[in-house]
């Protein structure tokens, strides 16, 4: 099992190290100046030297992403519950949720910046993109409850509230977590896009602002360092929600089934 896992991980790690080596070699061999293309070693050094600034920005980006996610979970979850309870609410509101979803966030961001403080606008952008997958997945989950189980609850005259708590919510949980995993990645993208559109931020400058700022100063190594941290943040969010899914579903849901040896 552990041996198999080691073998699974070996090829991508080798490819990763080989690509970094090739990059390093090309930069050194052609003597490419760092303001054109910095070598991986220089990016790593920049990451260490500018750690305080960059890490503070990473915390800002993470905070905005999670605030947006909490808002999307509360808003999307509640609206999904209303959809499941009253069909007319779904018919009335779902088209507008779709309109928000299909309009590119990068086109909405400048408009939001006209009306809102830049930090609030960034939060709203991140919320808007995370909202839809959580809403639609949760609504789908609530609607796909096993109808025989619904009959069973009716047979025992369970109230609507108990049916919701004991049946519909647990049945919707895998769908909700799927939406959360998509929404988590999208909230980060929304926050980054909005921050780049804002172009400047006061106290709480996130990672995307560091990229814009370093670009103005032709500090290319720092742009790469900030980019590296954005990727790391995305991976962190993905791993976090994968772990959450695993913790909540591994005992019973097929999506979390361990098919390994």
């Amino acid at each position: 099992m552990t041996r198999q896992r080691l073998l699974d991980w070996t090829p991508p790690v080798i490819v990763f190290i080989a690509m970094l080596g090739l990059w390093e070699f090309i930069v050194w061999f052609n003597a490419i100046p760092p303001y054109v293309l910095p070598a991986p070693s220089l990016i790593a050094r920049t990451l260490v030297n500018d750690w305080d600034t960059l890490f503070a920005s990473m915390l800002v980006t993470l905070r905005i992403t999670f605030e947006a996610l909490v808002a999307a979970v509360v808003g999307g979850g509640l609206l999904a519950l209303l959809f499941a309870r009253w069909r007319w609410v779904e018919r009335s509101f779902f088209p507008f949720a779709v309109v928000l979803q299909v309009t590119p966030i990068v086109a909405i961001a400048p408009l939001l910046l006209v009306y809102l403080e830049s930090e609030t606008a960034v939060l709203v952008c991140a919320f808007l993109v995370a909202f839809f997958p959580i809403l639609s997945n949760t609504a789908l989950g609530l609607a796909s409850t096993d109808h025989n189980l619904v009959d069973l609850f009716d047979l025992y005259k369970a109230s609507g509230f108990r049916q919701l708590m004991l049946l519909r919510l647990p049945a919707a949980l895998p769908y909700f977590l799927g939406g959360l995993r998509i929404g988590g990645g999208l909230a980060l993208i929304g926050a980054i896009v909005a921050e780049i559109a804002a172009g400047s931020a006061g106290q709480g400058a996130g990672l995307a602002y560091r990229i814009v700022e370093s670009g103005f100063r032709l500090n290319i190594p720092r742009m790469f360092a900030a980019l590296t941290l954005i990727s790391a943040t995305g991976i962190l969010i993905f791993l976090l929600f994968s772990a959450l899914s695993w913790a909540l579903l591994s005992r019973w849901h097929d999506s979390a089934r361990d098919r390994g040896g």
């Binding site: 025989n148 009959d151 069973l152 047979l155 025992y156 005259k157 004991l166 049945a171 005992r251 019973w252």
Partner: protein, 252 residues
Amino acid sequence: MAPIVRLRGVGKSFANGVTALEGLDLDVRAGEFLSLLGPSGCGKSTALRMIAGLAAPTRGDLVWRDATRPEVGFVFQEPTLMPWANVRDNVWLPLRLRNVSRAAAAARIDAALSMVGLGGFAGSYPRELSGGMKMRVSIARALVLRPALLLMDEPFAALDEITRLKLNNDLLALKAELDTTIVFVTHSVYESVYMSSRIAIFAARPGRIIETIEIDAPARRDEEFRLSAAYADNARRASAALHGAMEAEARP
């Protein structure tokens, strides 16, 4: 003793104009094992759902012996377990919906599980069990409130033959032990003859009962019975009646 429930002139039509049942007269006698046998689409499941109160008749009446529906257990064709709950909590559900705490229900849950031969599996999750074991959990859940009337909608149809024969015998033993009344929907002549004291044979389009046959054989059934002449005779009668039902359907 008066029948537990009498169905009188019961009919069911759906909004799309399909008539699922028409003019159904049926008594469910206390203590009997009554099978509803017929081809698919004959309304036998609809009749069962109306007895359970899961569907309302469009026409006619259900008259209950004690003026109201007694405690009813229902077993679906699928095990219909909550996958997120272990076996104990699945069986707890009917009690939980009556506000009995898990601790207060423990003895009754254990009793129901040992009745169906799953004493050691309370902590298992449904996906860890075989199809037959899941169906046993489903039966334990239906029995945990000790219902006066157990309704079963083709419960063993999705199981393999060997598991089905075993569950047939176990269900008969349970019925003898609990002295409950069972209404059992099936499309298997052999299963209905083996299990029942009485078989109501349905025809389709519209769904109705065309014949009711009493199985004249001792109440105690075992594998010997499957090989007996009485079993063969009854199976022949039920088959003939079912063919009659199919004929009636072919020439309306």
